[in-house]
């Protein structure tokens, strides 16, 4: 490690511990701190409309979910086509309380941090249970096991009277120290909550990867037989991975329930699972910062395409379905182009940018 | 014609083998005049992977019709890359022939797709046997005939010929190839390649991971193929001893270059070859080997440092 950690411009690792530091240089840490500060401060400086606040909240919810998906699909290499169901488990944990106690019971409105953690734990339990087949199944067969879970989840929610047969179960606004949240500050308030959750989850995952278990994950992904030979238990590792993914998904689900003030099964269908996968891949599988890029990119793209389709609809005759067609078409095209030309996702651009600036001001 | 690549200034010869090379090269040149018809001509090729990693630095070799030629070298010398360059299989590994040319049976096959090369009659048996594990032995062999256009009659006849040649396979035609033993798998791989009725067969380390007895059997088979089917053979080996016994002519590679070549008989007696490739040392050999290793390490190190 270089003596001056402000001006270090290169790799000066002298031990493995060095390589596992959270921040390689003071500069890294300072930049990150500043960036986080900025994230906390900007809403105070100028206000966004409710729509865009909701969009940002939506991105952050997806980030939490994708962090989970990245653990199971990116770090452990297990394709999960049922992630929306895990998110749904979290949301329906909150919803069950609302259903049994009434939607404005004090537990829901005041003890919401507890509810969020509880949803995470429920998600983890279900994740581990769904992960059990991973002890035996591999590759696509496992992916289909998660798909089955998705289908069973949807059916159960849609069938059981307890879950209001899939119809929206409402959840009332929460209380903060200032009293009950109004409609105006609703999205802003949850923006801050989400931000805290995202930062915490980010650090959790970053730290997780530095532990023995984190290394187990990538070892199992790369070759589970070899990992077995090294004394790791591939099956259990996978089950843990599903459990962790379930935890993050559950947290995301609870947050979704609170932000949207209601839980309906339409938000947790197979289509959403696939969108989550798309987010993870566009962001960059197996990278932490990919979990941030992916949701941001996909949701922004959706918005942009929507605007584009609207403009196209105004110019083109309405008899032609072009504007309608444009939306799925361009959405699909972006995913395909990404995979064709940048299969490692946006995280790879980030990596390239970083490696350019890493040695700054010195060059090769 | 052998002199040209050897004399190029960028081909720094690794060790004291320089003189030998020049000497043998001249001699070969003269010898080669007698059976000068070259089936394969590799001229000074340079191969890069991913546009930056240079693996071959000007390799030239010739395979004359009907002969058995061996290409020897240690791990990472570039033998397999050479073979892949010839058989058009660099592309899947993101490799590319940047310089030089390869001619097979008169036509240029530099950077040509593998299918085309097979159609021209040069077939490779890949390293590590690579049989189709989930296909039966019979299906494995049949796949080899995919590029042939000369009628099912001939193909069927060839198919039978394979079983005559490898009687061991005729007993296990319906077994999945993945469950066959290593030796059987190697035979399947060779038979599969022969089904394309090649003019030249390229074997990539046929001895890899096989018991000595099996290695012997395989090489006997190779000789028989060469003899009976009039197939030219280019064999890449680490096992210099057996390769030099079987082949007529041999090249030795080192760090992406041919450092030594000559008729196998002569190479067998060459002290350097004996020392470095057959593990036989004569007086003080150990020390020399040690020094050589060090110099090579240094050289590699310099190269790594020097590269962008």
């Amino acid at each position: 490690m270089s003596t001056n950690r402000w001006l270090a411009t290169g790799n000066y690792f002298t031990s493995y511990q060095d390589e596992q530091r959270l921040f390689f240089t003071h500069l890294d840490r300072t930049i990150l701190t500043m960036f986080l500060l900025l994230l906390f401060v900007w809403p105070l400086l100028f206000t966004l409309s409710n729509k865009y606040m909701l969009v940002i909240d939506n991105i952050l919810i997806a980030v939490v979910a994708i962090i989970g998906l990245n653990i199971v699909t990116g770090f452990a290499g297990l394709i999960s086509i049922g992630h929306a169901a895990f998110v749904g488990i979290g949301a329906y944990t909150v919803a069950s309380f609302s259903r049994t106690l009434g939607d404005s019971h004090v537990i829901i409105t005041h003890a919401w941090p507890l509810m969020i953690v509880l949803s995470g734990l429920t998600g983890a339990v279900f994740g581990a249970i769904v992960g059990l087949p991973a002890m035996r199944l591999k590759h696509l067969y496992l992916a289909i096991a998660t798909l089955s879970f998705q289908m069973i989840f949807t059916w159960t929610i849609n069938f059981l009277e307890f879950f209001n047969q899939g119809q929206t179960i409402s959840i009332s606004r929460v209380f903060w120290f200032t009293g009950k949240l109004g409609r105006k500050d609703h999205y802003l308030f949850w923006y801050y909550v989400l931000l805290v959750v995202v930062v915490l989850s980010g650090f959790m995952v970053r730290n997780l990867l530095r532990t023995r278990y984190g290394r187990c994950l990538s070892a199992v992904r790369d070759n589970d037989r070899a990992a077995d030979a090294m004394g790791m238990h591939p099956g259990l590792t996978k089950v843990y991975a599903f459990g962790l993914a379930g935890f993050f998904a559950g947290v995301a689900g609870a947050l979704h329930a609170y932000v949207y003030r209601g839980v309906g099964f339409e938000s947790f269908t197979l289509h959403h699972s696939i969108t989550y996968l798309a987010m993870a891949i566009v962001g960059g599988l197996g990278t932490l910062n990919g979990s941030f890029w992916g949701p941001a990119a996909i949701i922004t793209l959706e918005l942009q395409v929507e605007t584009l389709a609207e403009h196209a609809g105004q110019i083109l005759p309405s008899t032609w379905n072009l504007a309608t067609a444009l939306k799925p078409f361009s959405f699909g095209l972006v995913i395909v182009l990404f995979l064709m030309f940048e299969p490692r996702g946006i995280a790879n651009w980030w990596r390239i940018v970083r490696s350019y600036t890493k040695l700054w001001p010195f060059r090769y | 014609m052998f002199l040209r690549p050897l004399c190029q200034s960028r081909n720094r010869i690794v060790d004291g083998a320089w003189a030998h090379c020049l000497h043998l090269g001249l001699e070969n040149c003269l010898m080669d005049k007698q059976n000068s018809e070259n089936l394969l001509e590799v001229n000074n090729i340079e191969v890069v992977y991913n546009d930056i990693i240079q693996v071959l630095r000007g390799v030239s070799l010739n395979v004359s019709k009907g002969g058995i030629v061996a290409l020897l070298g240690t791990n990472g010398a570039g033998k397999t890359t050479t073979l892949r360059a010839i058989s058009g299989l660099l592309k899947p590994e993101n490799g590319f022939i940047r310089d030089g040319y390869i001619k097979f049976a008169g036509s240029d096959i530099t950077n040509v797709l593998g299918t085309h090369v097979v159609k021209l009659g040069a077939v490779m048996v890949p390293e590590g046997r690579r049989v189709f594990k989930h296909l039966t032995v019979a299906e494995n062999i049949r796949v080899g005939s995919i590029t042939r256009k000369d009628g099912s009659q001939k193909i069927r006849a060839d198919n039978d010929k394979m079983y005559d040649h490898f009687p061991r396979l005729s007993k296990i035609t319906h077994r999945l190839a993945g469950y066959c033993s290593g030796g059987e798998q190697q035979m399947i791989a060779i038979a599969r390649a022969l089904m394309a009725s090649p003019k030249m067969l390229m074997l990539d380390e046929p001895s890899l991971g096989l018991a000595p007895l099996l290695v012997k059997e395989i090489f006997e088979n190779v000789e028989a193929i060469n003899r009976e089917m009039d197939t030219t053979i280019l064999v890449v080996e680490q096992n210099a001893k057996i390769a030099l016994q079987v082949s007529d002519y041999a090249y030795i590679m080192e760090s992406g270059k041919i450092v030594l070549e000559g008729p196998s008989k002569e190479l067998r007696d060459n002290p350097d070859v004996k020392e470095f490739y057959m593990g036989v040392t004569q007086g003080g050999g150990r020390e020399r080997a040690y020094k050589y290793e060090i110099s090579r390490c240094l050289q590699r190190f310099n190269r790594v440092q020097g590269s962008p």
Partner: protein
């Protein structure tokens, strides 16, 4: 989806009515409206023409100066049948300052009910689920709710049935709008409608309904009241006629693309009974009122009077 052919006409007229009377507008004012619906995604076969109908209708209103100098500016957004996107669209519309909101699916209408009330935003959903009206004072249904329609059919069955108590089954979509009418019909039966509901069938993506129909038959079911989208009913009708039950439509003769005008839906190869209701008469008659939508009907009918068109 959950639409009848004249639905948009009624809907729009009601809407104009509300708009015209709610806001005593000055001359030349523009009213902003918002419509969020599924142009793509599930049920887009109904949503897409619905959006065109609304668009054309407001063009018609503006062109014909039905509101005098006032104009209506209706923004139409696709929500892909997703509640999340509907909510986003609604927030966006609010930011744009709409005075009236048009919604589409049952799910999102129920999910956003509270928002409508909080924002005091009058809303007409395309879903006529009776449950929309519960605990809500800003959702309006311009025509009879699905429940009312289903009860109407039940009454039709009872009135026209000869003999003992008719046995009825309900064939419904596995969602809120499908299930909604069931309990209301059950209530009507409890209140004295002389009818027996033998079974409620929630269909899936079935390729073959033979088993279901045979089961209903063996339970003595005489009528089927269905409340769902087109495709499952079409498959069921085919299977029904295959089993020897003859389908018969009632209501208006539908517009057709084919020379074979299926006033009588007899042929299994003609899966789209193009009318508001279908009756299958077999050993026993089955009535299927269906939520049907014939695309393009509305624009066509408005083509003629439009100036310059």
């Amino acid at each position: 989806m959950e639409n009848r052919k004249r639905m948009t006409v009624v809907l729009s007229l009601t809407l104009i009515f509300i708009v015209a009377f709610t806001f005593q507008a000055q001359a030349g004012q523009t009213y902003k409206l918002g419509l969020s619906l599924a142009i793509t995604g599930p049920t887009s076969d109904a949503g897409d023409p619905y959006s065109k109908g609304v668009e054309d209708y407001f063009n018609y209103v503006n062109d014909m100066k039905l509101l005098g100098d006032d104009k209506i500016d209706c923004t139409i957004r696709d929500d892909q049948y997703k509640t999340d996107i509907t909510k986003r669209n609604f927030e966006d519309f609010l930011d744009q300052g709409i005075v009236f909101y048009l919604n589409y699916s049952t799910g999102s209408t129920l999910a956003l009910k509270k928002d409508f009330d909080e924002e005091k935003m009058p809303t007409i959903p395309a879903s006529f689920h009776a449950g929309n009206l519960v605990d809500s004072s800003y959702i309006f249904l311009p025509i009879a709710s699905y429940s009312a329609q289903a009860i109407g059919l039940a009454e039709y069955v009872v009135n026209n049935h000869k003999g003992s108590t008719p046995k009825v089954a309900m064939f419904i979509h596995p969602s809120a709008f499908g299930r909604g009418p069931v309990s209301d019909v059950e209530k009507a039966v409890a209140a004295g409608l002389d009818m027996e509901i033998v079974e409620v069938v929630e269909h899936g993506k079935d390729l073959d309904n033979t088993a279901m129909l045979k089961r209903l038959n063996s339970k003595g079911v005489q009528y089927v009241i269905s409340q769902t989208i087109q495709s499952p009913v079409a498959t069921m009708l085919k299977d029904a006629s295959r089993l020897g039950m003859v389908a018969k439509t009632f209501g208006e003769p539908p517009p057709t693309l084919s020379p074979r005008s299926p006033v009588q839906v007899r042929t299994p190869s003609w899966p789209w009974p193009r009318s508001t209701g279908v009756m299958i008469r077999l050993p026993t008659p089955i009535i299927t009122p269906m939520a049907l939508w014939w695309p393009r009907l509305l624009p066509k009918s408005f083509d003629a009077p439009r100036p310059g068109a």
